[in-house]
């Protein structure tokens, strides 16, 4: 009988990195599919092109750099690509999307040494690169054209947040119901209800930490409520703030990226709060109406600091 001498524990929870990634993909799926349905084959092409580009880049990097950490199989490249496209305008040229996905994988992750080594969220890094390089393409928001229903051309072609910033008025012409469903100009995966659905499923499955989600939402909701109460004419209502501009995508899927968020439970509250607050501040005072990517990157940078400041108390340690 051959028995290896291996160390305890001799049982395992069964949770693996690739299973986590698969579950994130599943969580994204409802909003993603709905986005494709809303924005047609151009959106589908964008999604496919980005995924293919991400997989090829990952594969190439792993071929060239033997010491790189992580495997193609773990599915992290696909998650990165999906997170990126979900935050892009749905009719963004597919080749630029592919370029973005390659940037995300190569510059966002592989140059740091691979899976788990990066400081910044790869998808958000790539999004910022695209925003700065292709500002026009990145800010043209087509009206949704659902495949089977013919919607009245009620849409202005600016996102809710963008419209507020341009017109300086919080009076928007999209109804709240259509907004909740995400039938509005916006990025590909922005349907609040479906994001909520996938996100809550992930919390239930213990894939993501509710602490970040809740504190991020609170971090954005409280200041926007205060601001809105002070100046209801120029500031979007808190509910609209929450349901637009990828806030939920950020709360459930992007800020919860394990690699770039703190590992300590207490640190996660602060991290989430910081993300939420920054999103609000950038939206209201910044040059870009969609503040998510910048807020996340900024918080990524301070994440190690938060982590070291929020160490848990040791058992039996007297403070």
């Amino acid at each position: 009988m051959s028995t290896l001498l291996l160390s305890a524990p001799h049982i395992h929870s069964g949770m693996t990195v690739s299973r986590l990634m698969r579950q994130v993909i599943l969580g994204l799926l409802p909003a993603l599919v709905f986005g494709i349905y809303l924005f047609g084959e151009q959106a589908l092409l964008l999604v496919v092109a980005s995924m293919v580009a991400a997989i090829i880049s990952e594969w190439l990097c792993q071929k060239c750099q033997k010491t790189t950490i992580g495997r193609l199989r773990d599915g992290s490249a696909i998650v990165t690509a999906l997170l990126l496209v979900m935050s892009l305008p749905p009719h963004f040229p597919w080749y630029l999307g592919a370029f973005g996905a390659a940037v995300a994988v190569i510059l966002g992750k592989q140059v740091y040494g691979g899976l788990g080594q990066n400081l910044f969220n790869p998808a958000m890094l790539a999004r910022v690169v695209l925003l700065i390089s292709f500002p026009v393409a990145m800010t043209s928001w087509p009206a949704p054209e659902p495949l089977f229903i013919n919607l009245a051309d009620a849409f202005t072609g600016a996102t809710t947040l963008g419209a507020v910033m341009e017109t300086g008025s919080s009076e928007i012409n999209t109804g709240i119901i259509t907004m909740l469903l995400g039938i509005a100009p916006g990025s590909l995966g922005e349907s609040p209800l479906l994001l909520l659905l996938g996100g809550i499923w992930m919390i239930w499955k213990n894939v993501i930490d509710w602490r970040i989600v809740v504190s991020l939402i609170i971090g954005c909701f409280i200041p926007s409520t205060i601001a809105w109460l002070i100046s209801p004419d120029t500031i979007l209502s808190p509910l609209a703030q929450l349901s637009s501009g990828g806030l939920l995508l950020a709360a459930f899927f992007i800020a919860t990226d394990p690699v770039t968020s703190p590992t300590t439970p207490k640190g996660r509250y602060w991290y989430g709060l910081g993300c939420g607050l920054l999103i609000f501040l950038i939206r209201v005072f910044g040059a870009y109406p969609e503040g998510v990517a910048f807020a996340i990157l900024l918080m990524n940078a301070v994440s190690p600091l938060i982590e070291s400041c929020t160490r848990q108390r040791l058992y039996g340690e007297i403070k």
Binding site: T3, L5, H12, V17, W210, P258, T264, L314, G316, I318
Partner: protein, 491 residues
Amino acid sequence: MLFSHSLIKGGVHPEGRKQLSNDNDIMRLPAPKRLYISLKQHTGLPATAVVRAGDKVIAGQLIATGSGSSANLHAPQSGVVLKIATHRAAIPGGGEELMIHMLCDPERQNSSLKVDNDAKDRVALIDIIEAAGVVGMGGAVFPAATKIRSTLNKQIDTLLINGCECEPYLTCDDKVMREQSVEVIGGIRYLLQATAAPKAIIGIEDNKPEALQILTDAASEDSNIEIKSLPTHYPMGSAKQFIQALCQVEVPKGKRSTDVGVFVQNVATCAAIYNAIRYGKPMTHRVVTLSGGALEKPMNIEAPIGTLISELVASCGGLKGTASRIVIGGPMMGHTISNMHTPIIKGTSGILFLEESELPQKNSSPCVSCGRCVSVCPMGLLPNAMAELVANDDLEASSEQGLNSCLLCGSCAFICPASLPLTQYFTYAKDELGRQRKMENKAQLARRLNQQRSERLAKEATEKAAQKAAKKAQRGATRPKRTPTTAEQEI
């Protein structure tokens, strides 16, 4: 689980798999032919054999004496001592140890300890427990008497009796509680006397409803023994967490549980204490769980200390498949062995024969900083950070992070999605640090001995010189003068 408040920090919920072995009654093993009783039942000094090859011994006779950190050993059965020699041991990493090899007689003869089973005096009770060679059976395998003796000059408010058995697969404590409730409760009464504690609490995880019920019934007369149900939550049975769950206090770093007024003992040990004091029965047997998917008939066996594992397996109907891993102890903290021709010792709570499908996957991926290990660590450590430091061989830094507090409970490695062998890092680092400390101590000891030696030599030299001077004075100055050479001075 999401927002629930728990009695202990962190922890995990591994699948229990206790139903494999807790259905059947404890089986009494028919007397094995040969026994191999290790002189080293636990860490610390080995016991000293008091029998020699060829000696005839009867069951219960003292065959080796303990020395503070080790306990007395008694012959589980009558027979002949064949030899005292090394034999393969079921210890981490394999290896051999000095053992008393016995050939057993089928005839049953018994010798019991001479005890005064009405003893009321604390010291007298402790002496009996010591003579009977009772050790903690919950894993630590520390002589029970030594531990109880440490309470003589301390005030113990609560006796905590550990019936958690939080390790998956293991059911030996569960079975002991269900089948030997009289002994368990009786032992607790003696322990209350010996430690002068006013009350005892038995903590049992709620996945053992029968044991909870039976002990509650058995202790219905005792107003000072309380039975408490605890949530099934690993590592509830670890002493520090057990105290935290039952008393809501933490044992301060570097202190013992007796410093916070509690004394923890395992249920099976209580039964052994009862048998020792009530019947003068030394600790020669124990209940062992044999379980795992590769075993034909998982069950609990009461076996003499020194029985070969291969014999235990045979009496469970053998293996039905290939055991990919044989584990001594529970699956969370136990260690593997590669040879079944090794004997059980007083601390062997379980022997698991695990199939491939029960084992964790072998390939680990990189740490994705998911923080799961941090949130499950019952000691509040940062396992991911510590492991990274150990991987970089920065043991000092990892011990600053609290490595010494690590229980090696395995919760972090159990939950880690990257399947990183976190506990393996910590075991290595602890061993390594321990070794370094030992070397340091040795060097210090050597320095001290050296110094003592030169002092002694100097003293002897002066004494010699004084003697010589005295002699010379006696004999008068008849002989030529001679100064002692340096060589003479140094001898």
